[in-house]
């Protein structure tokens, strides 16, 4: 927190309310309140794109699909089960095997001629599958496209259970990966919006929520 304040040239006294979110939200002592990343992603995305009705958030630890009602309120959600397949961690593991940074995956996926078939049920099994595909002469590009399809197919299953309602927006770190985004658009047959700041939507939502709390109290630092 000190690093963030220093960068922003602020002190703790300049902050009226700290809202924590994410899996560590309950263990962050300086926080005044905590809100699940579900609500935070919904708030962040709706603040920037009020017409969105379905949010697909693929982060490091989990993947979730949020449905927003016509009043702009989160009304239901679906999350992945315990397996890391379909999450950002899956892509990290795969990038590691391929010995390339995770942000390289998108460019290489675009060069694929015929995406390889990669299992979508288990990260560890998928890892051994990637190794054996490469060993049998499959191109790296085809394997990467297969990896993106694998994430997309798993998350598309969640999205279909929640029910897709346009517009659809993708938040979370994996939104940066065009390979996954395009595979998802193909699976769901809808355009998917995203932004360069997709990964910040949870933090933005937490900040908005903190602002709402301060407004409720009626005292704002000038």
């Amino acid at each position: 927190m000190e690093t963030v304040l220093k960068k922003a040239k602020l002190s703790r006294n300049d902050i009226d309310y700290v809202m924590a979110t994410g899996y560590g939200r309950r263990n962050f002592d300086p926080a005044n309140g905590e809100l699940s990343e579900l609500s935070c992603h919904a708030k962040g995305v709706l603040f920037t794109n009020p017409q969105v009705r379905t949010i697909i958030d693929i982060g490091g630890q989990d993947a979730k699909v949020l449905r927003i009602n016509d009043k702009g309120i989160l009304e239901n959600f679906m999350m992945n089960d315990k397996c890391a397949a379909g999450t950002g961690r899956f892509l990290d593991v795969m990038a590691n095997i391929l010995q390339m940074p995770v942000n390289e995956l998108e460019k290489r996926a675009e060069l694929a001629e015929k995406p390889a078939k990669i299992s979508s049920t288990c990260t560890v099994f998928a890892e051994s599958e990637v190794i054996s595909q490469l060993a049998t002469g499959e191109t790296v590009e085809n394997v990467i496209a297969g990896i993106c399809n694998s994430v997309a197919s798993r998350v598309a299953g969640l999205a279909k259970r929640v029910g897709i309602k346009e517009e659809v927006f993708m938040s979370g770190g994996v939104a940066q990966n065009g390979g996954v985004r395009k595979a998802l658009e193909k699976e769901l047959k809808v355009p998917i919006k995203w932004s360069e700041t997709s990964q910040m939507m949870g933090a933005l939502g937490a900040a908005i929520s903190a602002y709402e709390q301060v407004k409720k109290r009626g005292v704002l630092n000038e």
């Binding site: 699940s36 989990d62 989160l74 239901n76």
Partner: protein, 410 residues
């Protein structure tokens, strides 16, 4: 400042909690006493018609009840490992793995039960039960009596189904008479039926008091009390204890008290078997947010009301895991509407493929009809390796935030 340690006040022996707890504990003691007297005793699956051993005067123990107790006291993983070392897959029901392990090692610090002389199995709860009991029968070299009540794809129970199952009830009685030397009498059956009816009516009445806001009880109470509904429904003490429970809930309604501690901010229905190894974590996750689990399908499912033998047969064909999706959905919708439920929390129980399997579609239909949010979490009724508290917390918090926003907060 003194180091005084607060002592828990002794339980009131006239309270329903004490009486119901005693009935559950006595079941093991009575079975052991019968065994010590040289009588034959059985192990029995949870939805086998309890009226049959009760009328014959046979003591039985319930492996599912024992497995839940072992899991709640921290022994689930240890016993699951014993079974897995013997070759049982960790994909099968953890109650089965725990019980098959217990049948082998015959002693646990958590909960012992006497070795059986016969097995009573009914597949109206799941088909895993059949293989589980067949293996027990082979390992222990004892007879197994099975009643086949198949999953009913139709909404109602047909006369043909009643006739098919009734013939098996009659055969089971005959087999048990021959095996144990005990005799079925109509007079004793009438008595058991009367107590079963009294117990069931009191249970339904007690659980229906959740219609009041706030509810006079914490729904987690039901997860404990239902053990008596499953195993001891036909006993006089069970009828009396359930009537005390209803009276206590009525008094709570009048005085505004509740066994749910704290402010009841939200009311949910919980779906699935309790996550016994993490009962505290799952309960605290709700209580800390002011969520009372006011009802579960158990509130409806264990109210066995019938007037005669055929009625009893029909009741056993109509238990939750044997009925079709539409019927099961309507029962839950009724509970949700009657008890002013605002959210649905589903335990995707790795042990129970049948129950968890149909919940995805049923949750969708319930949420659409009742306009409530629904959330599922991964867990297991007895294997602690299948639950993550952080994942549970996030889902419950998300559910809470949706319920709050629907009320205009958050």
């Amino acid at each position: 400042m003194s180091n005084e340690v607060k002592k828990k006040s002794p339980p009131d022996p006239n309270s329903a909690k004490f009486k119901l707890g005693k009935i559950a504990t006595d079941a093991y003691v009575d079975a052991q006493a019968a065994k010590d007297r040289g009588e034959m005793i059985g192990w029995c699956s949870s939805n086998f018609p309890v009226e049959i051993p009760e009328t014959l005067g046979l003591a039985v123990c319930y492996p599912e009840n024992q497995a839940a107790g072992i899991a709640a006291r921290g022994g689930g993983e240890r016993l699951c490992n014993v079974s897995e070392d013997d070759g049982y897959s960790n994909d099968i029901c953890a109650y089965a793995r725990i019980n098959l392990a217990y049948a082998k090692i015959k002693d646990t610090p958590e909960q012992n039960m006497p070795e059986p002389d016969f097995l009573l199995c009914c597949n109206n709860i799941c088909n895993c039960m059949i293989k589980w009991y067949e293996n027990l029968a082979k390992d222990l070299n004892i007879p197994m009596i099975i009643i086949d009540i198949p999953f009913n794809p139709d909404y109602d129970v047909s006369d043909a189904q009643v006739a098919y199952v009734k013939a098996q009830f009659m055969e089971a009685i005959k087999q048990l008479e021959e095996l144990t030397g005990k005799k079925w009498t109509e007079e004793k059956f009438q008595e058991v039926m009367e107590y079963s009816g009294r117990t069931s009516r009191a249970w339904l009445a007690a659980t229906s008091e959740a219609k009041h806001t706030p509810s006079p009880f914490n729904g987690f109470d039901l997860l404990n009390h239902m053990a008596v509904m499953v195993t001891a429904r036909g006993k006089k003490e069970a009828a009396e204890a359930m009537e005390v429970l209803h009276k206590e809930y009525l008094e709570n309604v009048e005085t505004g008290n509740s066994t749910f501690r704290g402010e009841e901010k939200h009311r949910i229905i919980f779906e699935g078997i309790a996550c016994w190894p993490y009962l505290r974590a799952t309960s605290t996750g709700l209580k800390s947010r002011g969520i009372n689990m006011v009802t579960t399908i158990y509130a409806d499912a264990f109210g066995f009301i019938y007037d005669d033998f055929d009625g009893m047969v029909k009741a056993y064909c109509n238990v939750p895991n044997a009925m079709n999706l539409e019927h099961a959905r309507d029962k839950r919708v009724k509970l949700i509407k009657e008890n002013h439920v605002e959210g649905l929390l589903v335990h995707t129980n790795r042990s129970c493929k049948l129950w968890s399997g149909f919940m995805a579609e049923m949750s969708r239909q319930i949420a659409a009809e009742c306009e409530i949010p629904h959330v599922a979490f991964d867990g297991d009724q007895a294997d602690p390796r299948n639950f993550s508290e952080a994942q549970y917390e996030t889902r419950v918090q998300g559910l809470t935030e949706i319920m709050e926003s629907k009320k205009g907060g958050c």
